[in-house]
């Protein structure tokens, strides 16, 4: 098929010119033409509607990056399905949209977050922080207290009927406070106020229904305002801080202390902070912290080294056990090979999250079956060195069947004549294996071993579900454990409570992992023909 031909045939059929050979197919295509078009339009309308439904909220929250991504995604979909010029796009766009939204964007976003101080205590924008601080109020000392009756009119506005300490009546609305004359107040037989102008008193039930609304409602005064303190009392309040637009500082109204924006926090000259902080760009600080701060660098280097030891050790051990078994069981005269193989694959076939938890129970120091059988009290998962060995043991259990399978496959692909020939030449079995079998195996298996290394490099489940990275490294500034690998370390940085959920720093670490994984992948691509396929 060539490019010219494609668009014509891609169409919904309108431009297809029926020729002699096509008549049958054409007739079977025609009924689906209109139906197909309707379905397509419905589908497009649904997708467009769904994606664009979020736009108002995005505008309101000024989430521009999200807005751009959604608009691009919508445009791509429409372009692919509404024009006839883009046949390959129809097939590529659906997967690409998801890859864009949930893979490419997150990776780019990781890069962005890694150069900010984004964390649980710095998760707002500066405007949001100013807004939050400006809303902080104190009841004015010795301020007027009021008796309150909560009112509402037919259009749903709230109002306060207030009586101050001098028994003067007021009406407080969202516009402000005004003095009242008796004729505007309507009372019932018991002297209770039932209405003021068009506002009627709210019943208890109505008041409790509109609690959230009431909490936000205030009668504005020149400075501060009047808020309900209980259902039948109100008091004047005053803001604690005021934002100076000219300098960008926050000023404490009562004491006059000036808080300046420093590193994403309002800080006074004597170093006092106003929480919360906001997100600021910190350049490469998160990366340099890894290498300059002693309390981070030490544990980080341990995690990094163990990460490599773990990945290389896992590949080496699983491969050694798997290959050994394959050599032992790959024997023409041996009975029961199929049964053995089927049973030996089971550890690999079980979901790994489950087997990791299973082993965590078996290796439990107090209650685990291993210590029970050995009648010992070995801290399998608590001692730094033993825990590492345990993780390798469990990962060997989990991974050897895979190596066994691929080694068996590769062994069977080696022609028997080669072995025979080596015997005839007088080579011992060991020589034959070393000089002939093993090199040939490696040709076939090297890419798979690299892939296995790459997989284990980020084998989060086995580490986190067995030990959660514990035992902890003493003196570490961040939550780092002796058995942590980089990805479990990142996970703990981002989600474990107590550490302050430092997303900026966690993203910086994940960027470092990306770099390492990309390097491994680049090496493995050189081993495979993948790149050649791109150019052919």
């Amino acid at each position: 098929m060539n490019e010219k031909e494609a668009p014509e045939k891609a169409g919904t059929g309108s431009s297809g010119s029926p020729s002699t050979g096509r008549r049958e197919a054409e007739s079977s295509r025609r009924p689906s033409f209109t139906l197909g078009l309707v379905l397509k339009l419905l589908f497009l309308a649904a997708v467009n509607g769904l994606l664009l439904a979020g736009l108002p909220a995005m505008l309101e929250q000024e989430w521009w990056s999200g807005l751009v991504v959604v608009v691009i995604a919508t445009a791509l979909i429409d372009w692919a399905f509404l024009t006839k010029r883009s046949l390959p796009a129809k097939y590529l766009i659906p997967g690409t949209i998801f890859a864009l939204l949930f893979q490419i964007v997150p990776i780019l976003y990781s890069g962005y977050v890694s150069v900010t101080n984004f964390s649980i205590s710095h998760r707002l924008t500066q405007d949001q922080v100013i807004d939050q601080l400006s809303r902080r109020t104190s009841n004015v000392q010795g301020a007027t207290r009021y008796q309150l009756t909560i009112l509402g009119n037919e259009s749903g506005d709230l109002a306060f009927f207030l009586i101050d300490e001098a028994d003067m009546p007021y009406l407080g609305t969202a516009e402000g406070l005004e003095g009242l004359t008796e004729d505007r107040i309507i009372t019932d037989a018991d002297g209770r106020v039932t209405a003021v102008d068009e506002f009627a008193a709210l019943g208890i039930g109505e008041v409790s229904d509109r609690q959230a609304e009431l909490a936000d409602f205030a009668v504005p005064l020149e400075q501060g305002g009047i808020r309900a303190t209980t259902i039948n009392s109100a008091a004047a309040y005053q803001p604690l801080y005021i934002h100076e637009d000219s300098t960008g500082n926050m000023v404490d109204i009562e004491t006059g202390t000036v808080y300046m924006p420093v590193d994403g926090r309002f800080t006074s000259s004597d170093g006092e902070n106003l929480g919360p902080g906001w997100r600021v760009f910190v350049g490469l600080d998160n990366f340099s912290r890894v290498f300059t701060s002693e309390a981070i660098r030490g544990p980080f280097m341990r995690v990094l080294i163990w990460n490599y030891v773990f990945a290389i050790g896992s590949v080496a051990l699983t491969f050694a056990v798997g290959l050994g078994l394959a050599l032992a069981l790959n024997h023409p005269g041996m009975r029961g090979q199929k049964v053995y193989r089927a049973l030996l694959i089971i550890p690999y076939a079980l979901p790994s999250f489950m087997t990791a938890l299973l082993w965590a129970g078996m290796l439990n120091q107090q209650f685990g079956v291993i210590n029970d059988i050995l009648n010992a009290d070995i801290p399998w998962l608590r001692d730094p060195t033993i825990a590492k060995a345990s993780i390798l043991l469990v990962n060997t259990w989990l991974g050897f069947p895979y190596m066994f399978l691929i080694s068996t496959g590769a062994l069977q692909a080696i022609p028997g004549e080669l072995k025979e020939a080596s015997w005839v030449d007088g080579a011992s079995p060991w020589q034959g294996f070393r000089a002939i079998t093993f090199p040939m195996l490696m040709v076939a298996l090297a890419p798979l071993l690299i892939a296995s290394f790459a997989f284990n490099f980020n084998n989060f489940n086995i580490v986190y579900l067995l030990t959660q990275g514990r035992p902890a490294i003493e003196g570490a500034a961040t939550p780092a454990g002796h058995t942590d690998i980089l990805i479990s370390y990142t996970y703990r940085l981002a989600f474990e409570s107590g550490s302050g959920a430092d997303w900026g720093f966690a993203s910086a670490i994940s960027i470092l992992i990306f770099v390492m994984v990309a390097t491994i992948s680049a090496i493995s691509f050189r081993q495979t023909r993948a790149l050649e396929e791109v150019w052919n």
Partner: protein, 313 residues
């Protein structure tokens, strides 16, 4: 190896006969059997004990009446389904987790397979501007696994919650969509390789008969590539039910009833190994056995897929 000692050829011919399983000379056949195949069975048995001990043990734990680790015996003195009923009908939302996992991982795997097949079809059958860039991009995407961006995914989901609450943090739909983000990548390559082996003459003859692109794809290509569809589906499914990081990032802080099995069972077990061991074992088996069965049935396909894609290992 050029200078061959005199005795060698004799020895090696004996060995090569042994390899084919014939008995030499008749002298002490038992010793010969041990040396040629007997030790292999011994190795196999040792490996079996290593491989199956934990499995046998978890089966035993699931039927053990005492729900604790300490008092467990390999062969329970009494046999009970209490652990199973506790999990299925007790307070733990295990059934929810099970259904969530099937829906999210199963549904996402189905769609991943479909999206990947669409892309592979375009890459395999069409020549267009940007094809190389596209293939290279797919290759690059593979170099940056989605899982590693979990912090960013979490933060994005927080923001999505404000805009599309139905697909935001803590929702199953959110996790489902995140999983679809991994559709292109290894799978696409695997499929493209398989698509390339289907002779083009087949589509071309369909062209001549007037079939549209969609018809060629759905009626001609898809049935022919069914094996690779099965492989990609099963591999994605196994990969997704094992996912802990993304599930935890998206669902971890939400309603436990929305959990998948991996994060659900992890949180259930928590630090209470001793008290919750029996039900955990039962839950693990109910989750694991179907996967093992699928795996054993499709083993041949899965292994061939793995050796080309190496997604699990």
């Amino acid at each position: 190896m050029t200078s061959v000692p005199q005795s060698r050829p004799v020895k090696s011919s004996a060995r090569s006969r042994a390899v084919t399983g014939r008995v030499i000379g008749g002298r002490n056949p038992l010793l010969h059997w041990v040396r040629s195949t007997g030790w292999r069975h011994l190795v196999a048995w040792i490996a079996l004990v290593f491989a199956l001990f934990p499995v046998v043990w978890v089966i035993s734990a699931s039927f053990n009446p005492l729900q604790t680790l300490t008092s467990q015996q390999l062969i329970p003195s009494t046999f009970t389904f209490d652990n199973y009923t506790e999990l299925l009908f007790g307070d733990v939302p295990y059934v929810d987790w099970y259904i969530n996992t099937l829906l999210i991982a199963g549904g996402a795997s189905l769609l991943i397979t479909f999206l990947s097949a669409l892309a592979a079809y375009a890459f395999s059958r069409m020549r267009f501007k940007g094809r190389r860039v596209g293939l290279l991009t797919v290759l690059l995407i593979q170099m940056f696994p989605q899982t590693l961006a979990f912090v960013a995914i979490f933060l994005i989901m927080v923001q999505i919650s404000d805009v599309f609450p139905a697909a935001g943090l803590g929702t199953r739909l959110g996790l489902f969509l995140v999983y679809l983000g991994g559709a292109l990548g290894v799978n696409t390559w695997l499929m493209k390789g398989f698509f390339d082996t289907i002779p083009r003459e087949l589509d071309e003859s369909a062209w001549v008969d007037g079939a549209s692109h969609n018809q060629v794809f759905f009626r001609i290509i898809l049935p022919l590539v069914a094996p690779i569809l099965a492989v990609v589906f099963v591999l994605s499914f196994i990969f997704l039910i094992n996912d802990f990081v993304l599930a935890s990032a998206v669902l971890g802080q939400g309603d436990p009833a929305n959990f998948t099995l991996s994060i659900g069972l992890f949180q259930y077990l928590g630090d209470q190994f001793n008290q919750r061991w029996g039900p955990f074992a039962a839950g693990a088996l109910m989750a694991g056995v179907p996967v093992v069965i699928i795996f054993l049935f499709l083993q041949k396909y899965i292994v061939s897929g793995l050796t080309q894609g190496a997604v699990k290992g």
